[in-house]
Symmetry: C2
Subunit: 308 residues, 2 copies
């Protein structure tokens, strides 16, 4: 792939994802120049200090100049505006991509903002609960899947360049229709976040149980949800607004299943509960076998202070 490889990459938005791409390109693709931009001056200053890019430009259009790959790493609701701000500096043959968590709406926003350009949306399924320029790290994409959703008329050679780029950062790449992406991610990412945000909110609002009790006894399971519910609120607001139909569809099915278990609890139907609880272990085994989670108990958390 080396003759087709990108020579200069522009990253717009230098938070967890953008910062991680900047670090990863420098770590894995030493010949490639990284230009960064962020709409927030404080983030630009921090990005320069951390060396997230070789250069951090003061304006979006300036950041795009001379790059053959531009990756938008902003909340999905901000993609259209971010793309329009780049347009004056974009070369005609540059590939425009992104890292947004929903793909149908982003594909439409980018195609509308940049007609005639090579727009190839993508979504690396990777992240942590942290956000901001200091949160990124170069190995974030190692062994994680990146889903590329090229439009029907995409240039196959440009798609192949983008796939090779993500593979160089350590990712495994899959190509998919945007609508199917949005349905898959609604269940593997968006619904889990919605539920985690909900239960953490429910626990905060109780009167009979104090916040201090919720915190103290969180190791019974609740603390796991608080990690996800600490994710960036702007990013997640935009995800739910942009992938509304698929999220509502998955939420409906979740609610039906929860109602069934609720009924089993109310009726004292232990067999239904047992049967349901016994069949959910296989998925975790599959996730661990596929290298998508830490095989050690409790995610290998170190807070017990201890070995066996």
């Amino acid at each position: 792939m080396s003759e087709a490889a990108f020579r200069q990459v522009t990253i717009v938005g230098l938070g967890l994802l953008g910062g991680s791409i900047g670090r990863a390109v420098q770590a894995h693709l030493p010949g490639v120049t990284v230009v960064g931009f962020d709409a927030d001056a404080a983030v630009r200053a921090k990005a320069r200090e951390l060396g997230l890019a070789h250069t951090v430009a003061e304006k979006a259009a300036e950041a795009a100049q001379g790059s053959d790959l531009v990756i938008l790493c902003v909340p999905v609701g901000a993609m259209g505006d971010a793309a329009r701000a780049l347009a004056p500096g974009l070369s005609q043959d540059a590939v425009i991509s992104d890292v947004g968590s929903s793909k149908g709406s982003v594909a439409r926003a980018l195609a509308e903002a940049l007609p005639g350009h090579h727009v190839i949306p993508a979504h690396p399924v990777a992240g942590t609960e942290r956000s901001g320029p200091e949160a990124g790290f170069s190995s974030l994409f190692h062994n994680r899947w990146c889903i590329v959703t090229p439009p029907a008329d995409a240039d196959a050679a440009q798609v192949a360049r983008l796939v090779a780029f993500w593979e160089a950062l350590g990712a495994r790449v899959e190509t998919m229709e945007p609508d199917h992406h949005d349905l898959v991610l609604a269940v593997t990412s968006h619904l889990p976040h919605l539920i985690a945000y909900t239960i953490v909110g429910t626990a905060s609002d109780l009167e009979e149980v104090t916040q201090s009790e919720v915190i103290k006894y969180s190791a019974g399971g609740f603390r796991d949800f608080t990690r996800i519910a600490a994710s960036d609120p702007t990013m997640w607001r935009d995800v739910f607004l942009s992938n509304r139909d698929a999220v509502l569809e998955m939420l409906q099915r979740f609610t039906e299943d929860l109602t069934e278990l609720q009924k089993a609890i109310r009726k004292g139907d232990g067999d239904t509960l047992f049967d349901h609880f016994a069949r959910t272990r296989a998925i975790r085994r599959g996730i661990i076998e596929m290298g998508q989670d830490d095989a050690r108990p409790d995610f290998g958390r170190s807070d017990h202070g201890g070995s066996k």
Copy 2:
């Protein structure tokens, strides 16, 4: 506390919790003799091989002989029968305790099974998703809370002995009314498990999204839920049956909150979503400050293969 300390401890049920107590007593209280028992002969054999106790008895009543502390580590629905099986071997001044995740029903079952004995229920809020005799480790209780729920007429000196025992294993101890325990744990443990079991089931049943896709893209959040949903089905069936009212109450509130967010998504009300998502970070900070979770991003998971 040394003159009041227990001299011999019997552990009934040698799974994750019982096995961890056996290891922890040997690690932290070297003068104390540990006697183990499990109703399953294969577990007894494995416990002997692993050295979870100094002696593993063949019968429950035999295991109780000469012990001044007996801890029941069986599913909460099995507590009454397990206590009755011990009775013939119990000395009159032994303290009987347990590690069950619900306390009102266990307190009633033990008081009924062992009238006239010192019954002092307890619940160490600690565990992993693993189960069985090989799952335990001696540091499981380090810096975790253990909730002791003595009956109103409990002997204060015996309660103090039990508190000192848990502190010696590294736990922090709190005393509480059983009903309040059950309400607190309904929100910090039981509801999170119910929700995790539900969503993993929902994801398994989809037709439009394959199980392989759910597994591949699980790093978007879903994988966190699969850990909890891999917990022991018998244990959790019993928890929901025994703490029914508190779980249904908390589930009702969760459902109301989820319906509110669902409505905000349907209406495209970004402000409501943002406000909700922005206020859930504080609880995670509290949990980390109290040492109840790993402060590193992503629980410090090692599966990215990497440092910064």
